[in-house]
C-alpha cells in the first residue's frame, strides 16, 4: 500500500514519478496485453465480440443466400450444416455472452463505487481464455482440407449438438471435437468471470451502496453470474461425456451398449435454459438503466424488477424439458414443464410493464439508446409471447423443428439481447472512449436494423406455421415458401447494412474533435460522475452513497409536485482536475501471466485431438502461467 507517503516528502515525489510511468505505460500494445484494468478488459471484450458478430453475421448471410430461392446452390449441404452450426455457436458463445461480459466489466466497478473488480488478473484471464476459445473454435474451419476449395472442417451438428448425431459414427472428422473442446474453454472463461463479478458485487460496494441501492444493471450482473457459475458445470460434464465417447470410445450416448441420447438433451437443456436467461438478463439490465435516463424518471417499481429478475433465474432451472416435449417424456412431465414455462412468463411480463410504466409520463428524449431500448421492449415482447405459444404442449408438437422456432429465438436473442446491447453501446460509448457516436448515424442504424430485423424474422414465423422445417439446406419451389424466404433474405441484408452504418459511426466518431462530456445524457448512476474517459483509478475518492440513483439526487432535488429541480452548484459540474488528481492511489500491477495461463488451454485441447505430447506442452504452459501468477506479487 501507499504506506510511505505520510512519512517523507520524497516518497510522494517517488509515488508521483511512479504514477507518471504507469500512466505512460498505458500506451502501446504491451500495455493492453498485460492490462488488468477492468475498463480496458471490457473494451477488449467488446471489440472482440463485435468482430465475432461480423463473422457470425457473414455466416448468417451465407445461410440466407442459400435459402433465398428454392433449390439454392450457394452452399453444398455439407457446407450449409457447418455454417449454420458455427453461426449459432458464434452468436451465442462468442457474441452475446462476451458482449454482456464487456458491460459487466466496464460498468460493475463504476456503478458500485469500486476501483476495480475483486480479482483483476483473473479478469484478464477470463478475457484471454475467451479469445483463445473463440479462435480455437473457428480454427476448426481449417481442418477439412483445402479451405479455398470450400472444404470446411467446422462442426456440423448444430449448436445444440444432439447425440447421437455428434458421435464419431455420424460426425467423423475433428469438427465436433473442436466444438466440444472450444465450449469447454469458453466455459472456463465464463465461470472465472462469473465468480469474479459475484465476489466484486457482494464484497466491494462503496459505503452506503446497499444491495437495494445498486443500479439494476448490477443486479442483473449478479443474477446472471450466479446462473453462469451453476449452469456451466452441467454443460461441462455433458461436453466431457461427449468427448469421452468420441475420443476414448466411452458409451454415454451409445445406444448399442444401453446408453440413451436423451441424457445429452437433458444435460444440454438443463444448462441451456438458464443459458437463455444468461443471454437476456444483461440486456434487461441495460434497458433498465437506459429507460430512466431518457424518460428522466426513476425506474418504475425497482424492487419488482429486481425480484422478477431473481424469480426468472430460479424458475429457469425448472423449464428445460419444454425443449423436449416431442421426445416422449410422457403426459405428466410435459404438463408439469408446460405449467412452469407458462409461469416464467409472469416475472418477465412484470418487467415489461415496469419498463412501459417507466416511460409513461416521462419527459422523453428520443435518442439512439432510447430507440434501441424501446425496440428491445417491442421485439422482446413478441419473442416472449411466441415463447408462450410453444409452452403449450399440443401447439408445440406442431411448431417443433419448424422455422417458427427459429423466428422465436431470433426474436428474443436478436430483437431482445442484441437490441438491448446496442442500446448499451450507444449509451455508454462516450463514457469509455471520450467520444460521442453520431446521433444521426445512430438513428439510421436503429431504423434500418429495426426494419431489417422485422423483414427477416416475421416471415420466418409464417414459414414455420405453414410447415417449413428448420435445419434444411434447401427446399423445392411452389410450396408457399419461396416468397417469404426471399423477403427474409432481403431483410438480412438490410441488417448487414445497419451493422455497416454502426462501423462507419465508430470510425467517424473516432475522428471527432470535441470530447464527450462527463455526463452527456444527464445520467443517474455513479459512472456519470466521473470524467469521460474514466481515469485508470476510477474514483479519486471512494464515494459514499445515500440513495438509489445517488448521482441524480446530487444533481436534482424535488419540488412540491415531485418534479426534479437542479440543485444550485450541484454535483453536475465537472470536478476540478487539480484537486486530488489520483496520485498515490494504488492500482494492481499489470501482468502477463493470465495470458500465458490462457494460452495453455487451446494447446491442451489441440493435443487431446491430435497428440498427447502436445497436451504435455500445453499443461506445462498452463503451469508456468498459474505458478507465475500465484508467486508474483499482485501489487508492488
Amino acid at each position: 500500500m501507499a504506506r510511505a507517503i505520510e512519512e517523507r516528502p520524497s516518497a510522494i515525489l517517488e509515488a508521483m514519478r511512479q504514477l507518471r510511468e504507469d500512466a505512460a505505460s498505458y500506451r502501446g500494445i504491451w500495455s493492453w496485453i498485460t492490462t488488468v484494468d477492468h475498463k480496458r478488459i471490457g473494451i477488449m471484450y467488446g471489440v472482440t465480440a463485435l468482430a465475432f458478430f461480423v463473422l457470425g453475421g457473414i455466416e448468417a448471410l451465407l445461410i440466407r443466400l442459400q435459402l433465398a430461392t428454392p433449390n439454392g446452390e450457394v452452399l453444398t449441404p455439407d457446407q450449409y450444416n457447418r455454417i449454420f452450426t458455427m453461426h449459432g455457436t458464434t452468436m451465442i458463445f462468442l457474441v452475446v455472452m462476451p458482449l454482456s461480459a464487456a458491460f459487466f466489466n466496464l460498468l460493475t466497478p463504476l456503478m458500485i463505487g469500486a476501483r476495480d473488480v475483486a480479482f483483476p488478473r483473473l479478469n484478464a484471464f477470463s478475457y484471454w481464455v475467451f479469445l483463445a476459445g473463440g479462435l480455437f473454435m473457428n480454427a476448426s474451419f481449417f481442418t477439412g482440407g483445402n479451405i479455398l476449395q470450400g472444404e470446411l472442417g467446422a462442426p456440423d451438428a448444430g449448436w445444440f449438438g444432439y447425440a447421437p448425431l455428434t458421435l464419431s459414427r455420424f460426425s467423423p472428422g475433428e469438427g465436433v471435437d473442436f466444438w466440444a473442446l472450444g465450449l469447454l474453454i469458453l466455459g472456463v472463461s465464463s465461470m472465472a468471470a462469473g465468480f469474479n463479478f459475484i465476489v466484486t458485487i457482494l464484497n466491494m460496494r462503496a459505503p452506503g451502496m446497499t444491495l437495494f441501492r445498486m443500479p439494476l444493471f448490477v443486479w442483473m450482473t449478479l443474477v446472471t453470474s450466479f446462473l453462469i457459475v451453476f449452469a456451466m458445470p452441467v454443460i461441462t460434464v455433458a461436453l466431457f461425456q461427449l468427448l469421452f465417447d468420441r475420443l476414448y470410445d466411452a458409451n454415454f450416448f451409445n445406444v448399442d451398449k444401453g446408453g440413451t441420447p436423451l441424457l445429452w438433451q437433458h444435460m444440454f437443456w438443463l444448462f441451456g435454459h438458464p443459458e437463455v436467461y444468461i443471454l437476456i438478463l444483461p440486456a434487461m439490465g441495460i434497458v433498465s438503466e437506459v429507460l430512466p435516463t431518457f424518460a428522466r424518471k426513476p425506474l418504475f417499481g425497482y424492487p419488482f424488477v429486481v425480484f422478477s429478475g431473481i424469480a426468472i433465474a430460479f424458475m429457469s432451472w425448472g423449464v428445460w424439458a419444454h425443449h423436449m416435449y416431442t421426445t416422449g417424456l410422457g403426459a405428466v412431465a410435459n404438463s408439469a414443464f408446460g405449467v412452469s414455462t407458462i409461469l416464467i412468463a409472469i416475472p418477465t411480463g412484470v418487467k415489461i410493464f415496469n419498463w412501459m410504466a417507466t416511460l409513461w409520463g416521462g419527459s422523453i428524449s428520443i435518442k439512439t439508446p432510447l430507440l434501441f431500448a424501446a425496440g428491445f421492449i417491442a421485439m422482446f415482447t413478441i419473442g416472449g409471447l411466441t415463447g408462450v405459444t410453444h409452452s403449450v404442449v399440443p401447439s408445440d408438437y406442431q411448431q417443433q423443428d419448424t422455422y417458427y422456432i427459429v423466428a422465436h429465438f431470433h426474436q428474443v436473442l436478436f430483437g431482445g439481447a442484441i437490441f438491448g446491447l446496442f442500446a448499451g453501446i450507444y449509451y455508454w460509448y462516450p463514457k469509455f472512449t471520450g467520444k460521442m457516436l453520431y446521433e444521426g448515424l445512430g438513428q439510421l442504424q436503429f431504423w434500418t436494423m429495426f426494419i431489417g430485423f422485422n423483414v427477416t424474422f416475421q416471415p420466418m414465423m409464417i414459414l414455420g406455421l405453414i410447415g417449413m422445417p428448420r435445419r434444411i439446406y434447401s427446399y423445392p419451389g411452389g410450396q408457399g415458401f419461396d416468397i417469404w424466404n426471399l423477403v427474409a433474405t432481403v431483410g438480412a441484408f438490410l441488417i448487414a447494412f445497419s451493422v455497416l452504418v454502426f462501423i462507419i459511426n465508430v470510425i467517424a466518431s473516432s475522428r471527432r474533435k470535441e470530447k464527450a462530456e462527463a455526463d452527456p445524457w444527464d445520467g443517474r448512476t455513479l459512472e456519470w460522475s466521473l470524467p469521460s474517459p474514466v481515469p485508470p483509478y476510477n474514483f479519486k475518492e471512494i464515494p459514499t452513497v445515500h440513495a438509489l440513483d445517488d448521482f441524480w439526487h446530487q444533481k436534482y432535488a424535488e419540488d412540491e409536485r415531485g418534479r426534479p429541480v437542479p440543485v444550485v452548484a450541484g454535483g453536475s459540474e465537472e470536478e476540478e482536475e487539480e484537486h486530488g488528481d489520483g496520485h498515490g492511489i494504488h492500482m494492481p500491477s499489470p501482468s502477463f501471466f493470465p495470458l500465458i495461463a490462457a494460452t495453455g488451454l487451446p494447446i491442451i485441447a489441440t493435443g487431446l485431438i491430435y497428440d498427447p505430447a502436445i497436451v504435455a506442452v500445453g499443461a506445462a504452459v498452463l503451469m508456468v502461467g498459474i505458478y507465475g501468477w500465484a508467486l508474483e506479487p499482485a501489487t508492488e
Binding site: 469474479n196 466491494m204 451453476f230 458445470p233 461425456q241 469421452f244 476414448y248 458409451n251 444401453g258 446408453g259
Partner: protein, 194 residues
C-alpha cells in the same frame, strides 16, 4: 481467526474465501451431474463385468478412511499455522499430501485391477460412468495434492507465515470438499448396491 490483511469487504468475508466458497458451490453441480449420470445408468449395462463382480469393499473402505484422515491432518495444519507453529505446519501439510497420494495410488491400483478383470471405459455403461466419475474425483484429489505440496515447499522456505494462513485455509476448504464428495461417491456407488 487470523487472516492475511485485506481491505474491508461488505460481507466481512475475504474476497478469496468467498471465491473459494462459490467455486465449491459450482463444483457441487459438476459432481452432481456426474453422479446423476452414474445413477441413471446403474443396472443398465447390457454386458458385464458388473459392480458386484469387481468391488472390493474392504480395500476401498481403507482408502476412504485414509482420505477422511487426511481431512483431520489438514485441520491440524491450519491450526498449526494459526498459532504460528511452523514445524507443525510443515509436518501436517506433508502428512495431508502424503495421505492424498496414498488415496490416489489406491485408486490407480483399483483401476488397474478392474481393468485386468475386463472392465474398461468402453466395456459397458458401468465402465463408462464409473471410470469417468471416480476419475474426475481422483483428478481433483491430485490437484489438491499439488496445491498442498506447493504450500509445503513455501513453508519449507519460510514463505508461509502466520499472516498468510488464509492460503492454508483455502487449500483446506478445497480438500475437505473433495473428501465430502468422496463420502457421497463411496456411499452411492460402492455401499448402496441395488
Amino acid at each position: 481467526m487470523q487472516h492475511a490483511p485485506a481491505l474491508a469487504t461488505n460481507t466481512g468475508l475475504d474476497n478469496r474465501k468467498l471465491l473459494m466458497w462459490l467455486f465449491l458451490a459450482s463444483e457441487c453441480l459438476f459432481f452432481g451431474s456426474l453422479i446423476g449420470a452414474y445413477l441413471l445408468y446403474r443396472d443398465r449395462s447390457v454386458a458385464g463385468p458388473y459392480p458386484e463382480d469387481l468391488f472390493d469393499i474392504p480395500f476401498t473402505s481403507v482408502s476412504a478412511f485414509i482420505l477422511l484422515m487426511s481431512s483431520v491432518t489438514m485441520v491440524l495444519a491450519l491450526a498449526a499455522i494459526q498459532r504460528g507453529d511452523q514445524h507443525g505446519l510443515r509436518v501436517w501439510l506433508f502428512t495431508t499430501a502424503f495421505l492424498g497420494i496414498l488415496f490416489v495410488s489406491g485408486q490407480a491400483f483399483e483401476f488397474t485391477e478392474f481393468n485386468r478383470e475386463g472392465l474398461s471405459l468402453s466395456t459397458n455403461l458401468f465402465g463408462t460412468t464409473f471410470f469417468v466419475l471416480t476419475g474426475f474425483h481422483g483428478a481433483h484429489v491430485t490437484v489438491g495434492v499439488l496445491i498442498l505440496m506447493s504450500l509445503f515447499v513455501m513453508a519449507l522456505r519460510g514463505r508461509l507465515t502466520r499472516a498468510e494462513s488464509l492460503h492454508v485455509e483455502l487449500a483446506g476448504l478445497y480438500w475437505h470438499f473433495v473428501d465430502i464428495v468422496w463420502i457421497v461417491i463411496f456411499t452411492l456407488v460402492y455401499l448402496i448396491q441395488p
